[in-house]
């Protein structure tokens, strides 16, 4: 009977395509929108994930997320270094500074100041130049996206392409000269601002004068040291907040979830995708069943049980569901592939496959259920009505 069920389904080409389109749409929206959302979220803590070396981040206890900088006094670094279980502790500056462009406009940049000696926290991938070049005077490393887009020089002719920043070019950060000595590849940040790396002491000189300028203390735990014990010890001894990398990422994630409209916006999109997909697929599937109600009646009259017809309808639902889901997920993957070099955030994880799979399954069950009820209640005697 499975064969008959599939032939019946595919025999009505128009409705078959309609159901598949509905499910494809639902599947696409339920994967593409959350993938963009997850991409945004991942960008919000991309700076933490890019810095692979430190085990623990130490900061002011009022910090709510990665970009919520509440500077510390430099002396806090030494207090942290004095705590047992720490292999090393290094300063990190992180702040937004204005870069003056050649055409006189200003561009906000995310300036990162690394420990002058060790350069811990340096960009993970250097495309041009070397991290060590930061030891040269006035040197900075710029991320490739910033160098080619927001910090790029104006075109030589009107309407022409911008000229990417390259090694040897100058920048003006807070009225001070900065020379580009390297181009790095880093994960885009949430606000997609250019990222400029320099040394800690130079970053402080670029930044406006403040009594407190230390953003974070990056800590590496000694081998075998329990990280949770270490964070508790740091907090107990200094009064500062100390988080493992994962805890700091979670802190940033939940701040965005609770304090911005982003999850609601994406949630609404996903919900609409689900509802519209369910409506299209459910209605079309139900219409398909209604159109074939006499055929189901014939099968019932000829001795097919309700259980057999139920299995047929479920198989039809699973069949269109699988195809719609596959196409939807495939289109999302293609979308992600096509956008891989664009500014768009996109992170397509296996959890999203499960999420949208469950969503499409719910739609299929819903679509099948209303048809099943109709067929179960069907009197086979309708076959004798002309």
């Amino acid at each position: 009977m499975n064969y008959i069920a599939i032939k019946m389904l595919m025999g009505d080409t128009g409705k078959y395509i309609g159901i598949v389109i509905g499910l494809t749409f639902a599947s696409l929206i339920m994967t593409q929108q959350p993938a963009i959302f997850m991409g945004f979220i991942a960008r919000s803590y991309s700076f933490i994930t890019d810095l692979g070396l430190p085990d623990v981040w130490v900061m002011d206890s009022k910090v709510q997320f990665i970009d919520d900088i509440k500077p510390l006094q430099d002396t806090e670094l030494y207090r942290v270094r004095g705590i047992s279980g720490i292999e090393w502790a290094m300063p990190l500056y992180k702040g937004m500074l204005k870069a003056r462009m050649d055409d006189g406009t200003f561009q906000n940049c995310n300036v990162i100041g690394l420990d002058d000696t060790t350069l811990i926290g340096a960009p993970p991938i250097m495309l041009e130049g070397k991290v060590e070049d930061l030891r040269r005077s006035d040197s900075v490393i710029v991320d490739i996206d910033g160098a080619t887009e927001k910090l790029a020089r104006p075109p030589l002719v009107a309407g022409g392409a911008k000229i990417p920043l390259k090694i040897g070019d100058n920048l003006e950060l807070n009225d001070r000269r900065a020379i580009v000595v390297g181009i790095a590849k880093v994960t885009r940040t949430f606000q997609s601002q250019p990222v400029v790396y320099t040394t800690y002491s130079r970053a402080k000189s670029y930044a406006p004068r403040e009594r407190r300028q230390l953003s974070f203390v990056l800590v590496k735990a000694k081998a075998g040291q329990d990280l949770h014990e270490l964070t508790q010890r740091i907090t107990a001894n200094t009064g500062l907040a100390a988080y493992t990398r994962q805890e700091f990422m979670d802190l940033t994630f939940w701040y965005l979830m609770k304090n911005t409209g982003i999850p609601i916006n994406f949630g609404v999109s996903v919900l609409f995708g689900f509802i519209i997909g369910a409506a299209i697929a459910g209605q079309t599937f139900y219409n398909f069943t209604l159109d074939n109600i006499r055929q189901f009646g014939v099968l019932k009259a000829m001795g097919a049980s309700n259980g057999t017809l139920l299995r047929m309808i479920l198989l039809q639902a699973v069949f269109v569901g699988s195809i719609g889901y596959g196409i939807g997920v495939g289109l999302t993957a293609l979308f992600g592939f096509a956008m891989r070099h664009s500014i768009l955030a996109f992170q397509f994880s296996f959890q999203l496959l499960i999420f949208s799979g469950l969503g499409v399954s719910v739609i299929c069950v819903f679509a099948a259920l209303i048809s099943i009820v109709k067929v179960m209640r069907l009197e086979p005697a309708i076959v004798f009505k002309s």
Binding site: I4, K7, M8, A301, M302, G303, A304, A381, V383
Partner: protein, 238 residues
Amino acid sequence: MCLKVNMNVAVRCENLTKTYDTGEQKVTALNNVNLEIRLAELMMLVGPSGCGKTTLISIIAGILNQDAGLCELFGENLLTMKSADKLRFRATKIGFVFQAFNLLPALNAAENVAVPLIINGVKREVAQRRAIDVLERVGLGERWKSLPAQLSGGQQQRVAIARALVHSPNLIVCDEPTSALDHKSGHNVMNLLKEVAVDDNRALVIVTHDARIFSFADRIAEMDDGHIISISDSPKTA
């Protein structure tokens, strides 16, 4: 009226009553109907629209329950049967031919004919081979791959007859099998039914108001207003 039990009786109806409740009023479709259909017999049920013919064959075919009275098929009372047994009984003992053919449009002729066998658990490949054999018997062996839409009305009804025969049922129930066909096609279909469907172990009951085919009947039961008003042993002339 009480009918004597006979080994040659395929269907025995006694005091059958069926009422439809439409909400506003009750309509009595069958009122104390008594009927016996014998094996190897082609029985026609005739009468005006709304006289209860379709209700009677629905009860005989086991797809509708009567309110009162007895309906036995080959000595079995379908009303007291468990639902699963009734389905199995219907799947194995009864074949159907409908006025609108009711072929599955997405299946080709052989696949349509194979449906009763598949319902009875026969493997698809085996069922399809047997279906092609039966299609050859009804003269459509060459057209087994054709979809219903590619066949004429007469050919579709021949496929439907093949479908009714393929699982060798003991009773074939036909509802207006010729009303959608022209005279020639209808005549051919009746000739075919008479030729391939009637045998010693099988009975045919045909509901019709197509007077042109009355001559094919062995007996004709005439109905009116929920009653059988006459049963004539000799067929009327078409």
